[in-house]
């Protein structure tokens, strides 16, 4: 097939703002243009949303055809953190896992690390937005020997090719990234009701991870493990020793640093 990407003939493009009525943006048009310039600098990827944007031609992904995309392709990631932008994360990854209403869904899409991975610019056929790394570049990984050992702890497992533990290691990294970030999202989501007015570093608790496990289909195999996490109906500001107040609702007084295990179940501070 003779594919010759030519600069799109913009003369036929009336440089009008795209019809965003369906998207309920909080910001007026001029903001879009402004952010558009930011986009150029970092090329967010699925950029087809260029129609109507001045200079959009510059940012076409190399193998994407020029014609104007349907309106729903408009919402691209923006790097300025605008809470009103949250609806745009609907499009973000093309997999159903992002919760459009959570502003925290957005952070996973932005960030130069995402661009640096290059996954968005070379994955033209596939959505290219399913960046399994979520923009994280890990330097540490599980030792391969350890992985092999865990694999072969299972007597059913026979021989394992040399490359295989390396592959499993990579899969594990991606899994961890997902689980860690989902748990952190849960922890962040509770800030509104968080105890102790904890500004600054928030602690991710087992309960948050449990929620993340329940919320994600691919984590179904972890439900057994998750079920052993005690439910903390009180805002988890303090460490709760498992079994000490499993059933009752503890009203935990806000404690800044919950580094110690609580030996008694008394609820006085």
């Amino acid at each position: 097939m003779d594919y010759r990407p030519q600069s799109p003939d913009l003369s036929s493009y009336a440089p009008q703002s795209p019809d965003l009525s369906g998207l309920q943006p909080r910001s007026p048009d001029p903001r879009f243009r402004h952010q558009q310039h930011h986009q150029h600098a970092r090329f967010g990827g699925q950029f087809g949303g260029g129609a109507g944007f001045a200079g959009a031609a510059l940012s076409y992904p190399t193998s994407a055809p020029p014609p104007p995309p349907p309106p729903q392709a408009q919402p691209c990631d923006y790097d300025s953190p605008q809470p009103g932008m949250a609806p745009y994360s609907v499009k973000s990854e093309g997999d159903g896992e992002y919760l459009p209403d959570a502003p925290s869904a957005k952070p996973a899409r932005r960030g130069p690390a995402h661009n640096a991975r290059g996954s968005s610019s070379n994955g033209n056929g596939s959505q290219a937005l399913t960046d399994a790394t979520l923009g994280v570049q890990l330097k540490t990984s599980f030792p391969v020997a350890r992985i092999k050992r865990i694999m072969q702890a299972d007597e059913d497992i026979g021989k394992v090719a040399q490359v295989t533990p390396h592959a499993v290691s990579r899969a594990l990294e991606l899994f961890m990234i997902k689980l860690i970030s989902s748990s952190a999202e849960q922890a962040r989501g509770n800030v509104a009701g968080g105890a102790g007015g904890a500004k600054g570093p928030r602690k991710v608790l087992p309960q948050h991870m449990k929620k993340a496990i329940i919320a994600n289909d691919t984590f179904d195999f972890l439900t057994d493990i998750a079920s052993r996490v005690p439910e903390a109906t009180a805002k988890p500001a303090g460490k709760v020793k498992e079994g000490s107040d499993s059933e009752e609702t503890k009203e935990v007084k806000p404690r800044k640093k919950a580094g110690k295990k609580r030996k008694d179940s008394g609820d006085d501070f």
Binding site: P107, A108, R110, G111, A113, H114, G123, S126, A132, L134, G135, V136, L138, K139, T140, F142, P143, R146, R149, I150, M151, A153, D154, E155, D156, I157, G158, K159, A161, Q162, V163, T164, H166, A167, V168, R170, A171, E173, F175, M176, I180, S181, S183, A184, R188, G200, P201, R202, K203, V204, L205, P206, H208, I213, D217, T218, F221, D224, I225, V229
Partner: protein
């Protein structure tokens, strides 16, 4: 520590126990690695909250994470093993892993794994193996000739050894 989950199909009780034992034993070394990974993820710009606050993991959460990791490895291996068996292969290869990931709903991991496999092919380990193989092939001798040559070497080495006064 960890109760082995339901996932293993057709596992005997013995396997259950040995899997649990193997897991508990080396856990201490895991925490350092896992903590590093946690830190890297939580401080990554694409993960941080809008206010830029960095989250931290409680100790229990980290332990929970380790359990989940072991479970992930175990489940993935088990699935891949079945796929390899259906493929009439005794060794679990990378493609069995990728198929297993697809089965388990982690198809989006596959491209990354393919990249790992490619890297491995070009790595030291694979290449030195490759070279050893080639060296044997290039010696120009058949297997029988090679075996004979080896026996000859052993013999002459033995003679030298025996002739030295001990």
């Amino acid at each position: 520590m960890a109760v082995h989950s339901h996932h293993h199909r057709g596992q005997s009780g013995i396997t259950y126990l040995s899997a649990a034992a193997a897991r508990v034993e080396a856990d201490k070394r895991d925490t350092a690695t896992v903590q590093k990974i946690i830190n890297e993820v939580l401080s990554s710009p694409s993960i941080q909250g809008e206010n830029g606050a960095t989250m931290t993991f409680a100790k229990e959460t980290r332990d929970l994470l380790i359990e989940c990791c072991v479970e992930f490895i175990t489940m993935l291996s088990s699935e891949a093993n079945e796929i390899a068996e259906k493929d009439a292969k005794k060794t679990i290869a990378c493609e069995h892993i990728t198929k297993a990931l697809e089965e388990l709903g982690f198809a989006d991991y596959v491209p990354e794994l393919v990249a790992v496999a490619d890297q491995f092919k070009n790595s030291q380990v694979a290449q030195s193996r490759e070279r050893k193989q080639t060296k044997i092939e290039q010696s120009g001798m058949s297997n029988e000739e090679l075996i004979k040559a080896q026996e000859e070497l052993f013999r002459s080495a033995g003679e030298k050894y025996n002739s030295v006064p001990s």
